[in-house]
Point group: C2
Chain length 472, copies 2
């Protein structure tokens, strides 16, 4: 790359956004060059831009398109696949300054937001009016809705309330030529044309920059009641999950922890979490309120006992419930306290959870490493986490092999290589393996149709054109 | 078109499907040339083919692609926009013989089906195991799931349970080159790549032929309790809807009927439906069961009374509930008994329902015609129906003008021109008006990427390329 075009591009960006919103000092841009997944490749950006409105985003896109400089859109950077990682010489477009809740329509139960709004800020604003924005990724206190939309983020609530995509009514996005696309609607239902909204949600910034979203809200549910159940065998906990689903119950939360993650959380919290021998813990909640919650919790407790639980405890006290959930909430932090981690995101049919956990234990043993499993049992989305010593190149290699073996296991159980984190710059070969050549060709055709110059987030999700593939 | 290519194509189709599955006699093909919307244009097909499996669909697509002959896919033909109407010289591909429920996975609450399965057949099969397939278009006893998928069909349940798209986990579809695309997954969650499933759902057969679907099932809800409420003014009924939504209630059904439709149903059923003076009727159900249903029904009754209802009645007896719902269920038949009808499908924000109904009355008065309104108040999807004398060209013209005026009114209220029926070959100009030029350009780019030869359902939803538009 010659010096002149970047200089012209930088000047155009400064003219459009003001000099203070265009960062080029590597000490400053470094902080915007990657997300929370250290294993994914990350490059050095030419610049980081912080637009404050849609007009500035459009100006950035036009300037970059003219210069042929790729754009990597990002929010807060809480992602776990490197989807927001910079590529060399790119412009990182940060949406965190576009952080207004533009509208809360209580009577139609919807919100209109800019992409930089922090997930929890919308949750709190909605809750003040008795409304509920369900998607609750673990990073909800700092991740942005734009990032949630780009990755179709999940969370703990998904078994009952769905993922981010299920809460989106419409979007506004800037396309590769700088034009502004509006998708969807404000109505509950609508079938006018292709579902462009869902095409953009989860596309990880490869098709455009989302600058606004219309989100559906739900009535705020009752404070949850909580059940915990301990098991002497993972298979029994898996059986309990199957029984809960078969009984027609839809818990508002159903998390599973294996023995390794339980030990890590117990050590971190300095408590025994109810016994040294337990091999698995199920944490279940009902937010149905009143007698309905009593019924659901009692039914789940009975089913856990029938599946062989050695200990169960139910509480309707939300504070006690929070306390019980702490073991799950701190699990990743607790594991990180023991060493470096690679966190997986496979989702399997709910009937295969126990097999996945047992398989992860075997994979860990074969690799000579610890693999801990926690996950969203209510929807089958598991987060096996491989522990390794970051100072050992050999352990790092074996951890990577175990990581791959877990993905292969997930696929072999009828699952997917990513339940909620996405593909990013980490799992592209696995996407090809999961989807096969026809679906990958369709991906490339769609990308070529909407972003022929490969302006947006090149290197994320898939390579637009590959040797041997014709891209029209 | 010369004679030779059709002959070669017909031979290829007969070779692939057997002669009995390739209809060319106009007396027989006529029955497959259109759906239930007489106003949309329909052509004369070259042939109608009835494949029995995916391999036969692929053979048909390849043969038609080679001959340059368009394919119009269809199910039972219950559509209301001409989406499945033949174009001259096309091959109509009927999926009704592909009608197997391939799998009911009770533990993972999902079904795998062929496109020709009748909606109600899946509902019944699922219900035998305590499971529920929610989407319930009015034609559920004869419409097929393939058509439901192609149009993203709705129904009465949508306010609580969503539309067809919300029940789809994955698809198999034959693309324009005959290749077989598999989208989605069997897991509850998954974010591997673009949401191709949702791109195909609602695309009205313009991107490929859906040959298989994996559908999510829900636990079968309790038998519904029913509330009816009469109002002296439409505004009061609209106010009751707003109060129900604001209270955080999610009725499993909430239908509205205006005075005209009430009179028509009363005449058809030969009953007074609770009084001559009523201007609007709300029908609400709760399927939450037990005390929860009692609570919901009592709250809705109170809110209706606070909004000014002159009469309310609640029953937990499902048979009585069915009887109360009859007025709504027969409404279109009752209107058809009075003359020819044009049925609309606008959806508006739930706060604007009363304005829409009042506006429809004005539009009817201005046109010198009767406009009756029934609709799904729970999601704002209204079906204003224009009555006219089919023997009068002048009335037909005025009815068409009223139809257009209702669409314009729906858009002006922040709504969409189609809540659940689709665009088909009826509302293409209105799609452009609703979506605007950027979204239309994106539609054309996507269509060109996946079906560059315009093989699938040409003339439906939008014109692939228009004068003044560059299609890449």
């Amino acid at each position: 790359m010659t010096a002149a075009p970047p200089a012209r591009l930088l000047q155009a960006l400064r003219d459009a956004l003001g000099a203070a919103a265009v960062l080029t000092d590597p000490d400053m841009t470094e902080g915007y060059a990657g997300d929370m997944m250290p294993l994914a490749p990350r490059g050095r950006p030419l610049a980081v831009v912080l637009p404050v409105d849609t007009a500035q985003v459009r100006a950035c896109v036009r300037a970059c398109a003219e210069a042929g400089t790729p754009i990597v859109p990002r929010g807060a950077g809480s992602g776990l696949t490197g989807a927001a990682n910079a590529v060399d010489g790119c412009v990182v477009l940060v949406t965190t300054r576009m952080n207004r809740i533009l509208e809360l329509d209580l009577d139609n139960r919807l919100a209109v937001v800019e992409p930089g709004v922090v997930n929890q800020d919308l949750r709190k604003a909605a809750a003040r009016h008795g409304l509920f924005y369900p998607p609750d990724p673990s990073s909800l206190d700092w991740c942005t809705l734009g990032g949630n939309l780009a990755t179709n983020a999940g969370g703990l609530c998904c078994g009952k309330y769905g993922v981010t995509a299920d809460a989106v009514l419409g979007l506004e996005a800037v396309l590769a030529d700088g034009s502004l696309l509006r998708t969807g609607r404000r109505t509950v239902k609508g079938v006018a044309g292709y579902d462009l909204t869902r095409l953009f949600v989860g596309s990880e910034g490869t098709l455009g920059v989302i600058t606004r979203a219309t989100l559906a809200l739900k009535p705020l549910p009752a404070a949850p009641g909580t059940l915990i159940a301990s098991f002497d065998a993972v298979q029994q906990a898996g059986d309990a999950v199957i029984r809960v689903v078969r009984e027609g119950l839809v818990p508002s939360l159903m998390e599973i922890m294996d023995a390794t993650s339980l030990r890590a959380s117990a050590a971190y919290l300095d408590t025994d979490l109810g016994g040294a021998g337990q091999q698995a813990l199920l944490l279940c909640q009902s937010d149905s309120g009143g007698a309905a919650a009593d019924c659901e919790l009692a039914a789940m407790e009975r089913l856990c006992q029938e599946a062989g639980a050695t200990f169960t405890h139910t509480t309707r006290d939300p504070a006690e419930g929070d306390l019980l959930l702490r073991a799950r909430r701190v699990s990743l932090t607790a594991l990180e306290a023991q060493g470096a981690v690679m966190t997986e995101d496979v989702a399997v049919p709910r009937t295969r959870i126990a097999e996945l956990i047992a398989g992860c234990e075997k994979i860990g043993a074969a690799a000579g490493l610890t693999v801990a499993v926690v996950g969203h049992a209510g929807d089958g989305n598991m987060h096996p986490t491989v522990l390794y010593d970051r100072t050992s190149a050999d352990e790092f290699r074996r951890a990577g092999e175990a990581f791959d073996a877990i993905l292969a296991l997930g696929l072999s159980l009828g699952g997917t290589v990513t339940g909620e984190h996405g593909i990013g710059k980490l799992k592209q070969e696995w996407l090809e393996r999961e989807l096969g050549p026809v679906a990958m060709r369709v991906h490339r055709q769609l990308k070529a149709a909407l972003d022929p110059g490969n302006l947006f987030n090149p290197g994320a999700v898939f390579s637009p054109a590959e040797a041997g593939h014709d891209t029209p």
